[in-house]
């Protein structure tokens, strides 16, 4: 396929990709723009440059605390739900199991059940079990929500990845765990990365469950949602959003720079 096409003569796909990136970035790029705007209100025309929203953001410990909470929960949930999803995906794609379809259906239920019901019922469950609300309970709820996402992504990767690869790993003397680590893991790595990205994004952005299952520690969406009551709190939040956005961008660029300096890390693994 035409891999050697010079960048100044892009083909349709390349043009499409750029347009698509514009579509997903354009609205988000207004966050930084308005985070420097000297007005509480997000509206044109711009009123002049200011850094005061960033100052307000830095001097807003509850918001930063909420941000940290969300990052923590997001990372833990992403890793755990990807592990759970991977185990489950392997089980249902690799073994002949009676009751496979109902089990899969059961795991998918969090996708169909309205979040407010999941939130309220989990809260009832927790108060029956006398478990106090904390970030852990939020994390558990997010885990329930994320596992189906993770599993769906990974099942679609595992299906059609040849089972004999894993058998070859076993056959060559590795136990199940090492076979997983040395064969399955690298081959499903694109799926794992996609799952990590997705589940982190879900958890990081989830509001309803986090509201019902958090106590005195908030996550960022809960903080932002409740702080909309005060318009003056929006611009610092905007500054935070812009900062997250720019920071992720810098991290990604930096990571890419590191990678380019290093040797060809994984030329054949598909990622």
């Amino acid at each position: 396929m035409n891999t050697n096409r010079p960048w100044w003569r892009p083909d349709g796909f390349y043009i499409y990709a750029v347009l698509y990136l514009i579509f997903i970035y354009l609205p988000v790029l207004f966050l930084p723009v308005f985070s420097f705007n000297n007005s509480k209100y997000i509206a044109f025309p711009l009123k002049g440059f200011t850094l005061k929203w960033y100052e307000a953001m830095i001097n807003n410990p509850p918001m930063l605390n909420a941000l940290m909470n969300s990052i923590k929960i997001g990372l833990i949930v992403a890793i755990l739900s990807t592990i759970f999803g991977l185990l489950a995906a392997k089980a249902v794609t690799r073994y002949r199991m009676p009751g496979r379809a109902p089990v899969v259906g059961f795991i998918m239920i969090p996708l169909v059940i309205p979040e407010i019901i999941l939130g309220i019922s989990l809260l009832i469950l927790l108060s029956l079990a006398d478990i106090p609300l904390s970030l852990l309970t939020v994390g558990f709820a997010h885990l329930l929500l994320c596992v189906p996402f993770s599993m769906l992504v990974l099942v679609s990767r595992m299906e059609g990845f040849d089972k004999s690869m894993e058998e070859a790993g076993l056959d060559l003397g590795e136990n199940a765990w090492m076979t997983f680590w040395r064969v399955t893991f690298p081959i499903v790595l694109p799926g794992i990365i996609a799952s990590l990205l997705l589940t982190f994004t879900i958890s990081f952005d989830e509001f309803v469950l986090a509201f019902f299952l958090s106590s005195i520690e908030q996550t960022l969406p809960v903080y932002i949602w409740s702080s909309l009551r005060f318009p003056s709190k929006l611009p610092p939040t905007l500054a935070l959003g812009a900062a997250i956005f720019m920071a992720s961008f810098i991290v990604v660029t930096f990571a890419e720079w590191i990678r380019r300096r290093g040797v060809r890390l994984d030329s054949t693994s598909g990622i």
């Binding site: 040849d162 070859a168 076993l170 056959d171 590795e174 136990n175 054949t268």
Partner: protein, 365 residues
């Protein structure tokens, strides 16, 4: 269990739900043998192989590998290695990485391991291919890498699951020779699964013919071909002409069978059939000698008419119509002197002759 058996199947069965994939298999494979499992697809040969590898567990019975029962051994603890049908080359590793995969716990130093890999690459005739990626290899090369990856482990038994099925004919024949040489050179027991009878005959020391989960016969290729023990085996290995008959006389060394088509057929008697038994008389196509003049004696011969023929290069196939028989009899002839044209005139009368020891008698059930 015989003394030198490397693998011993004892009453091994495997069920998938109601399907009996393998039904009470009991036999031994000797150390150093090239042993083939042959049968049509779905006969259970791959399941049997996978049970040796440990990917499937017998529903009942036990497999002994070098005297050890295998029912508690996972695949990674068995002294066997497998060449998979589709080779299962790890896509994320290069050739060297694939070959080195199983050597993690070998205790070899890095240098020694590299030397071993180079040796094996030499063995499979791919020196200098170590840094190729899996997607940069041809089918034959993948097959060699899969072989090397298994052989470097120095298994007690090498399992091969139709490894040549995906190759074209020429490459397949070349690989057959190489495989045979490799096996003799290394002295490792090969357990080879195939549905290609010619391949099995070419390669094997012994062949187990399987059908519908059952092992029908285990024998050396020549015995399997020359004196099969059942109609299925006779039919599956090569081609065979079958005629119905009844045993009419038995002497110490000879048996006479009356057939409607061939008349009285005499044969050397190896297996004992009772007088009056209904049997199949089977004669291989190449055992017929066509003649175009009426023979002196009418015993051990039959008159027919030439039907269609097929030129196959090294040999030709002729279909001969015989009275009292709907299907023509198949006759194969080496194209020794290019005398094909003379034979292939349609409707020409022809007499087919055979010798006594060409006749195989099979029980009719």
């Amino acid at each position: 269990m015989e003394h030198d058996a490397i693998i011993s199947f004892q009453n091994v069965s495997k069920h998938f739900g109601k399907v009996k994939a393998v039904d009470h298999a009991s036999f031994d494979i000797q150390r150093g043998e090239f042993f083939s499992l042959l049968g049509p697809s779905g006969c259970g040969k791959t399941t049997l192989l996978r049970m040796v590898a440990g990917f499937e567990m017998p529903s009942s019975g036990e497999i002994f590998l070098d005297g050890q029962p295998m029912s508690v051994s996972p695949p990674n603890r068995r002294p066997v290695n497998m060449v998979f049908q589709n080779y299962a080359i790890f896509p994320h590793l290069d050739v060297r990485g694939n070959i080195a995969f199983g050597m993690r716990k070998s205790g070899l130093s890095k240098g020694d391991l590299n030397k071993r890999i180079d040796e094996v690459l030499e063995l499979i005739k791919l020196p200098g291919y170590g840094s190729r990626g899996a997607d940069e290899l041809s089918g034959g090369q993948r097959q060699r890498v899969a072989l090397a990856r298994a052989l470097i482990k120095q298994p007690k038994v090498l399992l091969l699951d139709e490894p040549l099925g995906a190759l074209d004919k020429k490459l397949r024949e070349q690989m057959q020779i190489e495989l045979r040489q490799l096996q003799q050179q290394l002295g490792i027991t090969f357990l080879f699964v195939t549905h290609d009878q010619e391949e099995a005959l070419t390669l094997s020391d012994r062949i187990a013919v399987m059908s519908e989960g059952q092992v029908l016969e285990i024998a050396a290729p020549s015995q399997l071909y020359e004196s099969p023990s059942s109609r299925f085996v006779a039919d599956f290995i090569g081609t065979m002409n079958f005629f119905e008959g009844t045993v009419t006389a038995i002497t110490a060394n000879n048996m006479t069978i009356a057939t409607q088509v061939l008349g009285e057929v005499r044969t050397t008697c190896e297996e004992s059939f009772p007088l009056g038994a209904e049997v199949w008389v089977a004669i291989r196509p190449e055992k017929f000698r066509p003649e175009f003049t009426s023979p002196a004696r009418d015993i051990d011969s039959i008159e027919g008419r030439m039907g269609p023929s097929a030129y196959l290069g090294d040999r030709s196939h002729f279909y001969v119509h015989i009275a009292n028989r709907d299907d023509p009899v198949l006759v194969a002839l080496q194209n020794l002197e290019g005398s094909v044209h003379q034979l292939s005139r349609p409707d020409q009368p022809v007499w087919l002759r055979w010798s006594e020891d060409a006749v195989v008698v099979l029980a009719k059930d």
